[in-house]
């Protein structure tokens, strides 16, 4: 039992990321309100960034750009910078998706006067028949 909690403590970043991911995922899946869906999307993506950055973090080391320039550089002083780069790419992707979804939401709101996707789909179907 003690081992279990110790593992949880050592992997606390991953555990937090998993919890956040589930919250975001559920928000995206189970909300009908489009704005809440988009908030859920951002929580979900943030969880992934937390997982990625903590995957590359080594206790007591710094990012290469933060290192003291007077000290000669060695591998041992740096964290793994690759996940940080991945997070940057991920942020770009999620920003563009947020913008795209918000633009669509505005369009749908102007057309149907509601933010609830079930309502919108119902009205869209009725307008086709």
């Amino acid at each position: 039992m003690k081992d279990f909690f110790l593992t949880l403590y050592h992997q606390r970043m991953l555990v937090t990321a998993a919890i956040l991911f589930v919250i975001g995922f559920a928000g995206l899946l189970f909300n009908w309100n489009l704005i809440k869906k988009i908030v859920g999307l951002n929580i979900m993506d943030t969880a992934v960034y937390l997982a990625l950055t903590s995957a590359g973090y080594v206790n007591g080391r710094v990012a290469p750009i933060m290192a003291d320039p007077k000290v000669p550089a060695t591998m041992e002083q740096f964290i793994n910078p690759v996940p940080t780069g991945l997070v940057l790419t991920g942020i770009v992707v999620s920003v563009s998706f947020t913008a795209f979804s918000l633009a669509l939401t505005v369009r749908l709101y102007r057309k149907y006067g509601t933010l609830y996707l079930d309502d919108i789909l119902f009205r869209a179907k009725r307008s086709v028949d």
Partner: protein, 502 residues
């Protein structure tokens, strides 16, 4: 010194993206259309050259993108299978744009038309990048580019129904991307690698020592679920009929014929290059695909039978056809995988043919898309009627057409299995029957004359003039469907070579 042809895949991807940027400066739809056609022909020629050179050299090669090498840099991996798929994608993409050109002019605001081709260019770039990439994170980025382009293609018609359908598609896609990305970051966590060969080595070590057995299954499950949602495998297909049924003709054809396939190609890449088929089958993930594939084949067809809107019917038929691919993946043998890739090619040619012809038939009948109004439409647009007949018969599995070849190879591969044999053969038989149940009545319907005393549903129609782009597209796609049905052995040999070099 690198032989020049090895650069072609990378150049094609970059050319597509640059042309996309350049096209956004064009304000004339017709010019953008021509630029797009030139680009796609050039890309198709480049893929053909690559294919010929790779088959001649008899080996796949890794192409280093940029100057940073192996463990950190980005790579493409080019083999016969990838080149063949990209060649098919480029040709079909061109035919989709040609076949739907008339409907594009009808459905899309003239000022927005150049932007449609921007999305086509981005789509082509992402299709090729997904097929060629040797880096999992690059795959993720291009999945997202593909999703945005696909959503934009769906909403191009810009009426309420398409925007609502796009929203639904977008939300499902975002869930799927989230799952894939989280799976990918966990995979990076336990393997520390992103390039596919390195990840494979790490996974094999982990599997041999038995470490992280449960996380590995979970991660693969998440990534595969994400990709299955995007490729509309059975329980996750709910977004597909709306998106494919309401979009303009070209978009429906591109989405059904190509976009779904790109994700499936990625699934096949992950199975063959990242986890290797042995580990994948040992984790019993292939059985999940088998069951879902069979369910998709049956339910997709059942839904199509009840449908009265012709494009939604074809869209449900896509769900069933995707089921065939997953049946092939799920059987788990090399022969079955060849059948699955064969189905990717056949469906990539047949489904755009059906969509383009259905669009033409509908526009010959004043854009009515309900089956009742399509009665006799074949007489108003004979070429479209012929194309639809050919495509429908191929889906049913008439010999000498592509659909038959797929069913033959799938049945042949299923004979090696134990319980899979009964499931696969039963599903193939049932699904062929169900396909016939909805395609044959529609084909009969479009060729029948109005019955005596039955009022003409749409009086005053005359024969629709044929346009050159549509003729080229129908002929080319039909030729593809027929060629895939006649030259079984050469194509299957090429695919087998490609899979063995993957």
């Amino acid at each position: 010194m690198l032989p020049f042809y090895q650069n072609l895949p990378f150049f094609s991807i970059v050319a597509c993206m640059l042309t996309g940027i350049f096209t956004s400066l064009i304000h004339n739809g017709r010019t953008a259309f021509r630029v797009n056609l030139v680009l796609l022909s050039a890309v198709a020629a480049a893929q053909l050259t690559t294919l010929v050179c790779v088959v001649r050299s008899g080996a796949a090669y890794d192409y280093m993108v940029g100057i940073i090498g192996h463990p950190w840099g980005n790579e493409l991996r080019v083999g016969p299978l990838e080149a063949a798929l990209c060649l098919a994608f480029a040709v079909v993409m061109m035919m989709c744009v040609l076949g739907g050109w008339e409907d594009l002019n009808h459905d899309i605001h003239p000022e927005k038309l150049p932007l449609y081709f921007v999305m086509c260019d981005l789509m082509m770039a992402s299709l090729m990048a997904l097929t060629y990439t040797n880096d999992l994170f690059t795959a993720y980025v291009f999945i997202e580019i593909n999703t945005i382009a696909a959503c934009a293609l769906v909403m191009a018609k810009d009426n309420g129904a398409t925007i609502a359908a796009t929203m639904r598609y977008l939300m499902m896609s975002l869930l799927a991307s989230g799952l894939f990305l989280f799976g990918l970051s966990l995979l990076y966590w336990i393997t520390g690698q992103l390039l596919i060969p390195d990840v494979r080595d790490a996974i094999q070590q982990l599997y041999a020592t038995g470490q992280y057995a449960i996380p590995l299954t979970l991660i693969l499950g998440m990534m595969m679920t994400g990709l299955s949602v995007k490729s509309a495998l059975y329980p996750f297909h709910t977004w597909l009929p709306d998106a494919h049924g309401s979009a303009t003709t070209s978009s429906s054809a591109i989405l059904s014929g190509l976009v779904l396939k790109a994700y499936i190609v990625l699934i096949i890449k992950i199975i063959y290059q990242v986890v290797t088929p042995e580990i994948f089958n040992a984790l019993h993930l292939n059985n999940v695909f088998l069951v879902m594939g069979v369910l998709a084949m049956i339910t997709g067809s059942l839904n199509a039978i009840w449908e009265t809107h012709v494009k939604r019917m074809i869209a449900y038929s896509s769900v069933a056809q995707i089921g065939y691919i997953f049946l092939g993946i799920g059987l788990g043998t090399r022969a079955a995988m060849i059948a699955a890739v064969y189905q990717i090619l056949v469906h990539a040619f047949t489904k755009p043919l059906l969509f383009c012809c259905a669009g033409e038939l509908a526009s010959a009948n004043w854009h009515h898309k309900h089956l009742y109004y399509l009665r006799g439409a074949g007489h108003h647009a004979p070429l479209a009627g012929l194309g639809f007949t050919l495509g429908g018969l191929s889906m049913v599995g008439v010999p000498l057409l592509g659909g038959f070849a797929v069913k033959f190879y799938l049945a042949d591969a299923a004979l090696l299995g134990s319980w899979q044999l009964v499931v696969a053969l039963g599903a193939l038989a049932a699904s062929s029957l169900l396909n016939a149940l909805y395609y044959v009545p529609v084909i009969v319907n479009i060729w029948s004359k109005n019955l005596h005393g039955d009022p003409d549903p749409l009086p005053g129609l005359r024969r629709k003039p044929v346009h050159a782009p549509f003729v080229v597209s129908t002929l080319c796609l039909s030729l593809g469907a027929v060629a895939l049905g006649i030259f079984l052995q050469p194509v299957a040999d090429l695919l087998a070579l490609g899979l063995s070099l993957m």
